[in-house]
């Protein structure tokens, strides 16, 4: 029984002791939602800062290092600036949808955050269809992007939104299939069980060759899913201004921006959970201290986030036809063959287990 669990358990007991059960459960839900909102905001701002520093280092620059120690407060200052800015809009915009769109994007990424197992106990919602839920939720975000581009009454925004639709719908397949390949190994969609299976070796080791292929496909498709370079056609600066969020300003723009970074974190977190054993330490070196699970989880996730940043600052942007060729002619067939190989491996028990 570790400390974090006993604290949450005692808060839980205290809440249920001072008020009726229905009220207490609602209060508990609100508290957990607030905690996750806090994580969301902090992680988003922190990721923006990391992105800027890493980008600077890739380009032999220094990056923001003035506000706070090594620029730690830079993105806080940026967020304050964005909050204080005027919310502009176009004249003939569909006002209702225009205002609704950022919330679609941000709520979908917030909902996905709930099922991520940060540690053995630190998981808000251990649903038994976890992976399925994540895939479903991550495609809701594109509705917000489509709405934002459509309702802005701006041709660049519309083109960006349509490109985003094409891209997300295509690459959704690859993400789903590559995760399905790993599900063959675990036999369960529940994230806590996926982690439990990996106590005998991380899935990328257990499934060796097909798992590595699945991981590569997942990372490519995940980068496309988050609309980041080299798949950033929805907001291609040189072609579309700012793409689907051209007409957004102030906090609404910040929602799109934060959601993009949280989505990047989510893609990395799912990869960590499914391929790299989530909060499990390598070779079980810190198994006796469950609190360190959060550390291992974040370390693995940040490594994958760095990998995505590395992609962004290395590869040039694809054309739309190249994007679709890559998905439909390469990733999808490889993925389907990969599933068959993985099924064969599981059937003949050729997986590596410690």
């Amino acid at each position: 029984m570790n400390n974090a669990l006993s604290i949450t358990r005692s808060i839980h007991d205290w809440l249920f002791s001072i008020m009726p059960e229905s009220v207490a459960s609602i209060v508990e839900m609100v508290l957990i939602a607030l905690v996750y909102l806090g994580i969301f905001a902090v992680a988003g701002l922190f990721l923006v800062l990391i992105e800027r520093r890493v980008a600077a280092w890739f380009q032999l620059r220094i990056g923001p290092n003035r506000v706070g120690y090594q620029g730690l407060l830079q993105t806080m200052a940026d967020a304050l600036k964005l909050v204080s800015k005027e919310l502009t809009g176009t004249d003939k915009a569909d006002k209702f949808l225009y205002n609704l769109a950022p919330y679609f994007v941000i709520i979908s990424s917030l909902m996905a955050l709930a099922v991520i197992p940060f540690s053995m106990e630190f998981q808000a919602f251990d649903i038994n269809i976890g992976i399925f839920f994540l895939i479903a939720i991550s495609s809701i975000g594109v509705i917000g992007i489509l709405l934002g581009g459509w309702s802005s009454n701006n041709k660049f925004a519309l083109i960006g939104a349509m490109r985003s639709g094409v891209q997300t719908i295509s690459y959704e397949l690859s993400i789903g299939l590559s995760l399905l390949t790993m599900i063959l190994l675990t036999g369960s969609l529940q994230l806590s069980e996926i982690v439990a299976v990996q106590k005998e070796g991380w899935l990328i080791v257990q499934g060796h060759i097909p798992a590595i292929i699945a991981f590569m496909i997942y990372m490519i498709a995940g980068t496309a899913e988050t609309n980041r370079a080299p798949f950033d056609m929805p907001e291609a600066e040189s072609e579309l201004g700012a793409g689907f969020h051209t007409e957004y300003s102030g906090m609404k723009f910040a929602y799109f921006f934060l959601a993009e970074f949280i989505n990047m974190f989510l893609i990395a977190a799912i990869a960590t959970t499914v391929f790299f054993g989530a909060w499990l330490s390598p070779f079980g070196i810190t198994e006796s201290i469950p609190l360190l699970g959060v550390f291992w989880f974040l370390l693995k996730t940040m490594t994958l986030v760095f990998l995505m940043m590395w992609f962004r600052w290395t590869f040039p942007r694809l054309r739309v036809d190249q994007l679709l060729t890559l998905e439909w002619k390469y990733l999808l067939p490889i993925n389907l063959v990969n599933i068959v190989i993985m099924a064969f491996l599981v059937w003949t028990n050729l997986i590596i287990k410690f």
Binding site: V54, A56, W57, F58, Q59, L60, R61, I62, W310, F311, W313, T314, F315, Y330, I334
Partner: protein, 158 residues
């Protein structure tokens, strides 16, 4: 090229690109090409040809070297310099003589071309080393270069 060699080529070239950028990332600490804003304002020595603003040096007796010949005012292509002058009585000879009242310099109009400094026959104006010229009020950019009560340094006109 076949389908599979295409894939392997693609992966290989992507990894080559990533190794190049990865090397840059690892060496960026040593090889950063941007310079930071100078914090060491006390010890900072700008280079000789730095053009910050036009200044008029005064010596310890509050004397400058400007005779009020207005050559700089004529040389300036965009009317940055305005010399307000009048005639005073020269103490030695008792004759009327031109002297400057105010040497007005509009920094907001200056393009730092340096023609005024090139043309000055008595080296009365020079390039200053100040690089922080931003102010909150536009009128602060209009400066009077000669200090109040200053007069011409003797012997400049000889």
């Amino acid at each position: 090229m076949g389908y599979f060699s295409n894939i392997f080529n693609g992966v290989k070239t992507l990894l080559t690109g990533m190794s190049v950028t990865g090397k840059y990332f690892l060496t960026s600490r040593k090889g950063a090409i941007t310079q930071q804003y100078p914090d060491n304002r006390d010890t900072l020595k700008m280079f000789d040809r730095f053009r910050g603003e036009v200044i008029m040096p005064h010596n310890e007796n509050n004397e400058h070297r400007c005779t009020g010949c207005q050559k700089c005012e004529i040389a300036c292509p965009n009317g940055t310099i305005e010399i307000i002058w009048d005639r005073g009585i020269d103490e030695e000879t008792g004759k009327k003589k031109k002297k400057i009242d105010q040497f007005v310099y509009h920094l907001s109009m200056c393009t730092m071309c340096g023609l005024c400094i090139d043309v000055c026959p008595t080296d009365a104006i020079k390039w200053g080393q100040n690089f922080e010229n931003s102010v909150y009020d536009r009128t602060k950019l209009t400066r009077v270069l000669n200090t109040p009560g200053s007069k011409l340094q003797p012997g400049v006109e000889d």
